[in-house]
């Protein structure tokens, strides 16, 4: 089980996390049941990497910058492989 946290801080949300939020309900078959998706308040990551790295997610605490549905799914598969 991987814990996927999607940052709901304002910077991440505006820069694209709004789209990622739907991952909770639309995980593909091979990942369903193997990922726990939660939202979280601002992780503070945007302050170091500037907004250019937003939206951020974390996989078991490890941050992923410029997250898109595609890159998050790839990272989840790599972790579960």
């Amino acid at each position: 089980m991987v814990h996927l946290q999607i940052c709901q801080g304002t910077t991440c949300y505006v820069m694209g996390a709004a789209q990622l939020a739907s991952l909770a309900t639309t995980l593909p078959d091979d990942l369903r049941g193997r990922v726990r998706v939660t939202g979280c308040r601002c992780l503070g990551l945007c302050r170091d990497g500037a907004f250019g790295g937003a939206p951020y997610v974390t996989l078991d605490g490890e941050p992923l910058a410029c997250a898109t549905t595609e890159s998050v799914l790839a990272a989840l598969r790599a972790r579960l492989a």
């Binding site: 709901q8 304002t10 910077t11 949300y13 505006v14 820069m15 694209g16 789209q19 739907s22």
Partner: protein, 472 residues
């Protein structure tokens, strides 16, 4: 088009960078934005890094509120444009500006046979074409361009999905046929027909249709110490994932002196519209349409003048909220904030509120200022609206609010048009012709789903509606 994509991201990044430079009082940094976003040796999205930079320069120009069409000197620094912002007395109208260099000159919508065609025995493409435009040549279906009317029946009939209809994103999105092509295939907009709905802007995968923002005007007025008042639209409560009082706290943190909820204007619109409706029905009118959606009122003005006498005279929630704020603060700068594109035109033509920001632009401003809404102290609106007022942002909500003002048993019958399309516009034209409609109160919203689905948002409309439903 997915909700958030790379094109939207680029647009937002430009807005954030422009806002950041202006907030920092460093307009000279604006000219570096194209270079910072597309540095040498890093990936680019068009043919080369230089074309990307040229396109970004025009995006900064639009973010500062200048139309590309008005450019007189290609060497004029972006900082020089920023210097003109404080003396600007009128908002750009039409606010849409075309980035011709960005337009990919996509083909006109057309039906094309692909190499999946197996030249089958049945040939339903030939048999179902109403114009005899399809024939078989060299073992493959072929479409005669001169005869084809793009109806798509051959594509539907083919068992192999071998025929495709290639869409033209911008023109197909336009509900009023205002988007066309120049001789070189680039997009052109007929501003006389255009109802300012913003759909083409959202639909273009190249971001070639831009909106001139009023973000720079607002930032510079905030920085100059003017009294700037925020008028947040009901839809914002659904678009931002935060507590509403914290969103208002974030507006205060940005420097807005007070918040007047547009939902309070909506309550006043509902009250006046109910009175007007009762009066007009008593006087023998068959029906009245709502007047709060500016893309709808522009549609009437430009394409359905015969319907004008059926449109309610009641001002929109934005204008009534502005009137409330104006009464309290005659000298203040009033800024409406919502997901709508057309509100820019409504405000510019009415003269009040002074400015319109989109939800996306407010988001960019918060990002630039480094404000996390969840971390803001809650603040209250000077004028707050009711639940019924908040529901103006969802299809059916306006009709429900107006009907709610009537006593039981005497409420008018509502009829809801959820989203303007060519078909709906034809239907509305028949109401004008016959003087009759399926309801006495016809609610029209241009965006399907209501304002929460407006084009200038960053949120999934379904989630925005769910959030608003939970509130109201």
């Amino acid at each position: 088009m997915t909700l958030n994509n790379e094109s939207d991201r680029v647009k937002r990044e430009v807005l954030v960078r422009v806002a950041r430079d202006l907030l920092a009082g460093a307009p000279e940094a604006l000219d570096r934005i194209p270079l910072d976003m597309r540095p040498k040796g890093k990936p680019f999205s068009r043919c080369c890094v230089y074309k990307d930079r040229a396109a970004l320069r025009y995006r900064v120009m639009a973010a500062l509120g200048f139309r590309v069409e008005d450019e007189s000197d290609e060497l004029k620094p972006l900082a020089a444009y920023a210097a003109e912002v404080p003396s600007r007395t009128r908002n750009p109208e039409p606010f849409i500006s075309i980035l011709a260099e960005g337009c990919s000159a996509c083909l006109e919508s057309q039906t094309t046979v692909t190499n999946l065609c197996r030249s089958c025995l049945a040939r339903p493409c030939v048999g179902n074409c109403p114009k005899q435009a399809v024939h078989i040549k060299n073992g493959r279906a072929e479409i005669d361009r001169d005869k084809c009317v793009n109806c798509g029946l051959c594509a539907k009939a083919c068992s192999f999905h071998a025929i495709v209809q290639v869409p033209l994103a911008c023109a197909d999105a336009c509900p009023v046929d205002a988007v066309g092509k120049s001789e070189d295939g680039r997009v052109v907009i007929d501003h006389e027909r255009c109802i300012r709905c913003g759909r083409c802007q959202k639909a273009c995968p190249f971001g070639a249709i831009m909106a001139c923002s009023q973000l720079a005007d607002v930032i510079l007025k905030l920085k100059a110490g003017r009294t700037v008042i925020a008028l947040p639209a009901p839809a914002l409560a659904g678009i931002f994932p935060n507590d509403r009082s914290q969103l208002y706290g974030a507006l205060r943190a940005l420097g807005f002196a007070a918040v007047y909820d547009v939902a309070s204007g909506a309550d006043e619109t509902a009250r006046r519209e109910a009175a007007e409706l009762a009066e007009r029905l008593a006087a023998g009118d068959g029906f009245v349409t709502t007047s709060c959606c500016p893309a709808w009122t522009e549609t009437v003005k430009r394409l359905l003048p015969e319907l004008a006498r059926f449109v309610s005279h009641t001002p929109s929630p934005m204008r009534l909220a502005a009137a409330l704020a104006r009464a309290d603060h005659p000298e203040a700068v009033l800024v409406f904030i919502g997901p709508c594109a057309a509100k820019r035109t409504e405000a510019t033509l009415a003269g009040d509120p002074d400015h319109v920001l989109t939800a996306e632009e407010l988001g960019a401003l918060l990002v630039a200022a480094g404000i996390d809404v969840d971390g803001c102290a809650p603040a209250e609106a000077v004028r707050a609206g009711s639940r019924a007022g908040l529901r103006f942002a969802v299809s059916g909500g306006v009709a429900a609010a107006v009907a709610g003002r009537f006593g039981p048993g005497v409420a008018p019958k509502p009829y809801v048009i959820n989203g303007l399309s060519p078909k709906m516009i034809r239907l509305l034209a028949t109401f004008a012709k016959t003087g009759k409609a399926p309801g006495q109160l016809v609610e029209v919203m241009c965006c399907e789903g209501g304002c929460t689905a407006g084009p200038c948002s960053f949120e999934d409309p379904a989630r925005a509606v769910a959030r608003l439903n939970a509130l109201a």
